[in-house]
């Protein structure tokens, strides 16, 4: 551990500066402590890390390419654009890196049951699949609206043998990711023997740290690959941010490389880091889109369910505070245009989530100049989004 490195993770109490730690009910505290210890033990166990790396390679299919998006670069006419291709992962998103890690950890801890929350369903199918192949029962909590919108992911999870539980908010009127988060924390409180596999770099400590650790494979690969291809570090890395796992995964390796500019792109109408205030909910302290009294979250909206979240992980709150990462946002329309552009120029169907990174990345690339290198993190494929795309395009799709 290097002193003053931004890569050191949270302090011993689970804080990133003033953010993070574990604001959890007492019933969960022993679990969180047990988990923290198990995690620290595991990452010092070469056999465990070998197992993780083995399955990253053999099951997830890593390393995935750092793809030079030549056609897009030409079209945009600015910095040289690279795609980090997590859309090629098994199960179609970066979520598998983390689910795999945590399920291996659950197995190592001797846990007998797994709970998880999900928004768009990406984390659910990743967890369900990892549970299937490690023979653990899996129960997924998912908002009612998301179940409806992402029905194919629900189906996939069921084929992997998972049970899916519908979640609603307190009124019972709707249910989205935050309701799934609240529900899974409740369920875990009722069933503290279970393992809770958290899907993003959020939640009470040690989850943000665990998720960051598991996802950092993305940035490690970027570094290795860009050095091989270009002989130098990129000038900028840009990723979308919901909870913040793909972003932290992509940038963690570069946090101390001050010459690399880092960008996190939120949806315009769920831009917690740009427009939020500091709050404490669902176990962690961070920027949040919340009511003035702090007694509830504000309704958010995004084309991409996976990043439609009222907050973002605590490490991001810290990186914003110290200005290491630039957090910004683009509109649904910009993201959708980027989604279509990538289809047409690169023959790659990206998910709506990374389309936000591309939407901003296009603007960034133009400003950067042709001798610069820009890495966009393509954290998922868009198979799940084509019905929505069809609805939006309507007759224009001929």
């Amino acid at each position: 551990m290097t002193k003053n490195s931004l890569k050191n993770g949270p302090d011993e109490f689970g804080y990133y500066g003033e953010f993070g730690s574990r604001y959890a009910p007492e019933i969960l505290m022993p679990n969180l402590i047990e988990l923290e210890e198990a995690f620290n033990d595991a990452i010092n166990d070469k056999k465990f890390l070998d197992e993780f790396n083995y399955y990253l390679k053999e099951w997830i299919g890593r390393p995935n390419p750092l793809y030079y998006a030549e056609q897009l670069t030409k079209k945009v006419g600015g910095a040289k654009i690279y795609f980090k291709s997590d859309h090629l992962n098994h199960l179609g998103a970066h979520k598998g890196n983390n689910a795999l890690f945590q399920i291996l950890l659950a197995k190592r801890m001797g846990k007998k049951k797994v709970l998880c929350e999900t928004g768009a369903g990406a984390h659910l199918i990743a967890t369900a699949a990892a549970c299937a192949f490690k023979d653990l029962p899996c129960i997924g909590y998912m908002g009612r609206d998301d179940i409806f919108l992402q029905s194919t992911n629900v189906l996939k999870a069921k084929l992997f043998g998972a049970k899916v539980i519908e979640c609603v908010d307190g009124t019972g009127e709707k249910g989205v990711l935050k309701d799934a988060c609240t529900s899974v924390l409740k369920a875990w409180s009722s069933d503290p023997d279970a393992f809770y596999c958290c899907g993003s770099a959020i939640g009470p400590h040690p989850f943000p740290r665990i998720v960051q650790y598991a996802q950092s494979v993305i940035g490690k690969e970027i570094k290795e690959q860009i050095l091989e291809k270009e002989g130098r570090l990129p000038d900028a890395i840009c990723a979308c941010i919901g909870g913040g796992s793909n972003l932290i995964g992509a940038i963690h390796e570069f946090l101390d490389d001050k010459e690399v500019k880092l960008y996190g792109v939120e949806p315009e109408h769920s831009a917690a880091l740009t427009n939020g205030t500091v709050g404490i909910m669902q176990g962690f302290k961070s920027f949040m889109l919340q009511s003035e009294t702090g007694d509830s979250t504000l309704a958010t909206q995004s084309l991409a369910s996976g990043i439609n979240f009222y907050s973002a992980g605590p490490e991001h709150a810290y990186l914003k505070k110290i200005k290491r990462v630039n957090y910004t946002h683009v509109s649904d329309k910009e993201a959708f245009d980027a989604f279509q552009l990538v289809c047409k120029t690169e023959g790659i169907l990206i998910a709506f989530e990374p389309a936000f990174a591309v939407g901003y990345g296009i603007k960034l690339a133009k400003e950067m100049g042709k001798d610069k290198l820009l890495v966009l993190n393509i954290c998922g494929r868009g198979d799940k989004d084509i019905d929505t795309a069809e609805r939006i395009l309507g007759d224009k799709l001929e």
Binding site: L28, P30, K186, D191, M281, Q290, S291
Partner: protein, 287 residues
């Protein structure tokens, strides 16, 4: 860690002098009569500000010893659907801490002997301002605070404890079946007024209680503290309360059952009185 424990010990000494008198007296009196405390629970602002105050008053008139007044939070992680719905309804009607303090203050004026305990999640307090919260709570005559998501491990725990200490309000600690010996030791070291012992693994309002489990839990705690222990979670009817009262606890919490009862009788014109009669059925069995 050693340092943390040292701080805890220092705090403890401080606390021995500054304990909230009212609650101490309540348990002392009950102990003398070999009786158990009844702790009731309601959601501030539900079904509306005025009615929720009336309910509190009637409860205090009906023989309840301590009342927990819940500060609504929409994403309550450790509450069941009954309380959560009441929370949201109250939030929609515009509840906030200033209004809650008004309710508490009026309740205090109505009954100078009732133990008044605010209960809720940290964020409301954090956003309101910790110092300001403590002052206002004190002015409103509040005796104690239960904060669900405030383990000793987070920064705000000390801040809140210190702020409350200044004004003589106790921070109530929860102990659950998953809390291990070590942690019980630390928590009890830090605890004030009474310990809230959770009987069940799980959230409020969903399971039924068993006296053996409750006793196991209480016995684990008694090893480390002489503070009164109240037993909560899962008490569905007077029968349950009677059962639990047979345990070594010093009091029994009736929580979501009261909220459920309010919910079910929400259109009744004499709602507060009905709630009062309902709670008396619990008071009776504890006599």
């Amino acid at each position: 860690m050693a340092e943390v424990i040292r701080t805890l010990i220092l705090r403890r000494e401080f606390w021995e002098i500054n304990l909230s008198d009212r609650i101490k007296k309540i348990f002392k009196n009950l102990k003398e009569k070999n009786n158990k405390a009844l702790i009731s629970f309601s959601v501030a602002g539900f079904p509306d500000d005025q009615t929720s105050l009336e309910i509190c008053k009637v409860l205090s008139d009906s023989g309840v010893h301590i009342h927990e007044l819940n500060m609504p939070h929409a994403e309550a992680q450790a509450d069941g659907p009954i309380i959560q719905l009441a929370n949201i309804k109250s939030i929609k009607k515009g509840i906030n801490l200033d209004k809650i303090f008004m309710i508490a203050e009026k309740l205090r004026l109505h009954n100078p002997n009732l133990g008044i305990c605010l209960m809720g999640y940290l964020n409301n307090i954090f956003i309101y301002g910790i110092e300001k919260f403590a002052e206002k709570a004190n002015k409103a005559g509040v005796d104690a605070l239960i904060c669900v998501d405030l383990p000793a491990d987070v920064k705000e725990e000390k801040q809140i404890r210190d702020a409350l200490k200044k004004v003589g309000i106790s921070l109530i600690k929860l102990i659950t079946p998953t809390t291990n010996e070590n942690r019980i030791k630390e928590i009890t070291m830090d605890a004030e007024s009474f310990i809230y012992s959770v009987n069940l693994k799980g959230i409020t309002g969903v399971k039924t209680v068993q006296v053996n489990e409750a006793n196991q839990q209480i016995d684990r705690i008694k090893k480390y503290t002489n503070l009164p222990i109240v037993s909560g979670f899962g008490i569905k009817n007077p029968q349950d309360a009677k059962e639990i009262a047979k345990s070594n606890c010093d009091g029994v919490v009736v929580g979501s059952q009261i909220v459920k009862y309010i919910q079910e009788n929400i259109d009744d014109k004499n709602l507060p009185q009905k709630v009062g009669s309902y709670v008396k059925t619990f008071v009776e069995v504890l006599k």
